[in-house]
Amino acid sequence: MSVVELRGAVALLGRFPALAGIDLSVEAGETVLIQGPNGAGKTTLLRLCAGLLRPTAGEVVVLGHDLTTERRAVRRRVALLGHSTGLYGDLTVAENISFWARAAGLSGADAESRASTAAGLMGLDKRLLSRTVNVLSAGQRRRTSIATLAVRRPELWLLDEPHAGLDQAGRNAVDSLISEAVGAGATVLVSSHELERVRSLSPRVVTVAAGMVVADSSSSASGTERDVGQGGGPGA
């Protein structure tokens, strides 16, 4: 079953076509690395899959829902790690994680146990948990942010440069989070400039440029090289 199915999808930021007709199909349990130059549309692609944007043309089906009409239905089942952390600066790390756990519909003990698991996974120790987010470093915030997503155990992870700003331990934590999620049956889309690091996790590399898929390692024989201008093609 394919978890993400895009056919000629166009998404606008204002009047700018950040995605200019993109084709992509991702099967359940896959890990896909999205790479491409700055401004290629990687972030928009992930936001589109999360149901935050309305496709203006083409077809977008995520987790069996057509996102032209049913964007709400997928939102609870995906997790999107964006550029901003989505944390409340005046709350502590623990309060943030617990809030987002409850916001995802978990209750009481369930929320707390998942919160502590997620915090452990991201290497957030007791001392850190009781600090307010305002005093944290950028890397610590990023870890907290990932933990707030992990509590929800999403079916589809959309990670926008998850390694950015993290130290070595943090990067390793992200990697183990990804493999754990995949082990549990989730699907992961990662955009990253850390090519070598992510490539060890994902056999499939999709290259995006100018709002389109220009190469997809799964569709070419060698699995690593790509032919610019052929892979995705303008679907619109």
């Binding site: 999360a50 149901g51 935050l52 309305r54 964007r71 709400r72 939102r75 609870r76 995906v78 997790a79 999107l80 964006g82 901003s84 952390t85 989505g86 944390l87 409340y88 600066g89 005046d90 709350l91 309060e95 809030f99 987002w100 409850r102 916001a103 995802a104 519909g105 307010t132 707030t148």
Partner: protein, 232 residues
């Protein structure tokens, strides 16, 4: 069907409680209302005193109007603060993805603003009693008016705060959008206070009815409109 409906309503209020607690906890930590908005409101009362020539009889006559103008000005700040909590670090995207109903978020945030406004109104009541020499004739009417008006201001304010945020020039846009809508609240609450403080002979209870209608309509509409606004 019915069971599902009950479950949904319970979820609506649980989630609203979650959001309200969070906003109030943030306020308890940051003390923006207590350290900035409340002093600002008292300052406005003092400025009115200067502007109106320090004659306590004049001040007492106009105390209800001055009180509610001050509340509206302070409410603008409270609403802006409430909206900026979500937008400071893009938490509203997380809320959209959380699957929580937009109505829950709206009710929760409005409830938090409501409680903060009530605190503000208590302080301002003390303010006009001490500074303007107002006397409370009818405490029941006073309290009910304060509550009904605060509901209207908090719900409308929350809706418009969310509406103006995420647009350019939101700080200047909010007052011109919000204040005209609140004109009936200003008139109604002032008239009702006229009665409760004995400043003028009017029927405060009729005005309270108007405020109650406004509060009710604003709550229901706000919950619906908030959904229409962010559910895209």
């Amino acid at each position: 069907m019915l069971v599902r409906g009950v479950g949904q309503v319970r979820e609506l209020f649980t989630d609203a409680g979650l959001v309200a607690t969070r906003d109030l906890r943030i306020e308890a930590r940051s003390r923006v209302l207590l350290n900035q908005v409340a002093p600002f409101a008292l300052l406005v009362l003092v400025l009115f005193g200067f502007a109106l020539d320090a004659d306590q009889r004049t001040l007492r006559t106009f105390a209800p109007g001055l009180f509610w103008v001050t509340v509206l000005l302070a409410a603008l700040l409270a609403v802006q603060r409430s909206a900026s909590i979500e937008h400071a670090d893009d938490a509203h995207t997380g809320l959209r993805l959380s699957g929580m109903a937009a109505a829950s978020v709206f009710l929760g945030k409005a409830a938090a603003v409501f409680i903060q406004l009530m605190v503000l109104e208590v302080l301002l009541t003390i303010g006009i009693v001490v500074l303007y020499g107002s006397e409370v004739d009818n405490p029941v009417l006073l309290v009910l008016t304060a509550v009904a008006a605060a509901v209207g201001v908090a719900t409308t304010g929350t809706l418009y705060g969310a509406l103006a945020s995420g647009l350019g020039a939101r700080d200047t846009l909010l007052p011109i959008l919000l204040l005209p809508v609140l004109a009936p609240v200003l008139i109604g609450a002032t008239r009702s206070f006229d009665d409760a403080l004995g400043a003028a002979a009017v029927d405060g209870w009729a005005w309270l009815g108007l405020l109650a209608v406004f509060g009710l309509v604003a709550t229901v509409l706000g919950a619906l409109a908030h959904g229409a606004m962010i559910e895209d």
